[in-house]
């Protein structure tokens, strides 16, 4: 119940972003009404609607994540939550739920009316709705948590930012190296699995870091930053280790790539 109270409170302050989705939807419907070839127009509108819907959801999630705690801390408003009998998990999850809800609803508002009017909802929407919503939700969650962590790192202006820079640099360098090894072995499916695994693990790590920032940092932005930095450094290390083990296993058990040259290309 308390989580929902926090969610409701976050909604109250930010529900105006839903107007963005609604506004885009209305504009699209107006545009459709001017098209002469309705069949082509509707097909175009489906792809536009889905793209814009997901894009809008992601942008809102990103902006929400960047402000949901760090702005309260900077404006010294976070104490309002801490002065209530709310557990850190309730505060954090309540805010995350509000952000996800707003992002998804805005995305739906932007895309669903045009899809319904396009008349292809039977073939398209029902079949792919699950995956579209899944992509929208997963992307929104990742971006929300990522930008929450980044906003804490940036706004605290502490020396822990150096550890963050080292972590991010090492992580991306490590992922690049692992990806190159898999690509060199033409293991593209394993590469996708690796990236998905890193994304899932990264989302989990970001979630834990965000929770610890609230639970252990509370109103102290610098202390919260320290917890975020250490958690993310550990997560990055663990993910790279798991990725390295996975890549080594794939390369060991994969049959060697058979290079066959075409007769006409043989050099003398």
């Amino acid at each position: 119940m308390s989580i929902l109270a926090v969610t409701r409170r976050e909604w109250t302050g930010r529900r105006n972003v839903l107007l963005l989705g609604l506004g885009y939807s209305v504009l699209q419907l107006i545009g459709l009404s001017f098209e002469s070839d309705m069949k082509i127009a509707y097909e175009k509108s489906i792809f536009m609607s889905v793209g814009v819907g997901i894009g809008l959801a992601w942008v809102i999630a990103l902006l929400f994540g960047a402000t949901m705690v760090s702005r309260d801390l900077e404006e010294r408003r976070f104490g309002f939550f801490l002065n209530q009998p709310l557990h850190a998990a309730q505060i954090f999850l309540g805010k995350v739920l509000a952000g996800l809800g707003l992002a998804l609803l805005a995305g739906l508002l932007a895309s669903v009316p045009a899809l319904l009017l396009g008349g292809m909802w039977r073939q398209f929407l029902l079949k792919d709705a699950g995956s579209i919503l899944g992509i929208g939700l997963a992307g929104s969650l990742f971006l929300l948590l990522l930008f929450h962590a980044v906003s804490i790192q940036v706004r605290s202006r502490s020396l822990w930012l150096l550890l963050d820079l080292v972590t991010w640099t090492a992580f991306f360098a490590g992922v690049r190296w692992l990806s190159q090894r898999l690509m060199g072995a033409w293991a593209f499916q394993d590469l996708v699995h690796l990236w998905l695994g890193l994304l899932a693990g990264g989302t989990l790590g970001l979630g834990i870091a965000g929770y610890l920032q609230v639970a252990q940092g509370r109103a102290d932005l610098q202390r919260g930053h320290r917890w975020v930095s250490v958690t993310l450094a550990l997560t990055a290390g663990l993910l790279l280790l798991a990725g390295w083990v996975d890549t080594a296993w794939v390369l060991k058990h994969r049959p060697p790539v058979a290079w066959t040259s075409q007769p006409g290309n043989r050099s003398r």
Binding site: S2, A5, R76, G79, Q84, P85, D220
Partner: protein, 295 residues
């Protein structure tokens, strides 16, 4: 002994807070008894805000510990907040929420929420319920914060400079509300304030923080009994040596005569001296001034 410590609303043990090289709070120890009004005073930057943040579990002290009702506030914040009402120095409620929404939000979190009491208080303060919190005046924000803090019928009330920026009428209303609460329920109160005249009639015990150290922790009655304010006319020749036996805390001589605050003995024995009642403000200025000279 154990049961007494367990029931103490506030017990600070050697609390220290450090920001980099700055020691904001140094070994502050004090206790607040049930039903007591403890006024924590100090100049700007003396460490009051850091202490209050630690006291509410917003910040972990770098040294020492703080217990509310016998429980460590850092680890048991959520449980303890059921019994604590807070008015922050800067009204921190979400600016876009209306007072009605704020009351609903807070009311849903406390099983002991006194809706009728909150409605009455907001009515007495004449607060427009459907105006966003951010659009209320400074005084109204403070009044809403106080009404919300008293809503769950707290055992402990922490007020961080609740009269800051309020006009005389709004200040009076805050104090009247507090007096009513104290009279009805005997709530324990910790208040930080710069309004020394306003708090004088309310406080039982005084703590004075100076440069991060707790300079004074004593009952107001004791402090006033220990310190006497005297004055003398220009015609009276009172030399510093005359005052020395009374251990003057502070003294001043000018063309209009002189005055001093003495810390021991009965100054009425000295001819030409008039003894006056000492206000909290005069006492505060003398104690802090003396500490500044000493440091």
């Amino acid at each position: 002994m154990t049961s007494q410590v367990e029931t103490l609303p506030i017990a600070c043990h050697q609390v220290g807070v450090r920001y980099g090289r700055t020691q904001a709070l140094d070994q502050a120890s004090f206790q607040v008894e049930p039903g007591q009004v403890y006024a924590l005073l100090g100049r700007n930057g003396s460490g009051k805000t850091s202490l209050v943040r630690c006291l509410l579990g917003h910040q972990k002290p770098t040294a020492g510990r703080i217990e509310l009702f016998g429980q460590d506030v850092w680890s048991a914040r959520q449980t303890l907040m059921h019994r604590v009402g807070v008015v922050a120095e800067e009204p921190d409620a979400p600016p876009l929420m209306t007072t009605r929404q704020l009351v609903r939000f807070c009311g849903s979190l406390y099983p002991t929420w006194d809706q009728a009491g909150v409605d009455q208080r907001l009515g007495r303060f004449r607060i427009p319920l459907d105006l966003p919190f951010g659009r209320l005046s400074r005084g109204q924000k403070g009044q809403v914060s106080l009404a919300l803090a008293l809503g769950p019928k707290p055992s402990l009330l922490v007020l961080d400079d609740p009269t800051l920026g309020l006009d005389a009428v709004a200040r009076r209303e805050v104090y009247d509300e507090l007096l009513g609460e104290l009279g009805e329920r005997g709530t324990t109160v910790l208040i930080t304030t710069h309004d020394l005249a306003g708090i004088e009639g309310l406080a039982d015990r005084i703590g004075i923080l100076h440069q991060g150290r707790l300079l004074v922790d004593a009952s107001l009655e004791d402090l006033k009994a220990r310190h006497r304010k005297v004055s003398w006319a220009p015609s009276q020749a009172v030399a510093p040596t005359d005052l020395a036996p009374f251990a003057p805390l502070w003294s001043r001589t000018g063309s209009l005569g002189g005055e001093a605050i003495l810390t021991q003995g009965d100054p009425s024995q000295l001819p030409g001296l008039q003894v006056h009642p000492l206000s909290l403000e005069e006492l505060f200025v003398a104690l802090v001034g003396e500490a500044e000279v000493a440091s």
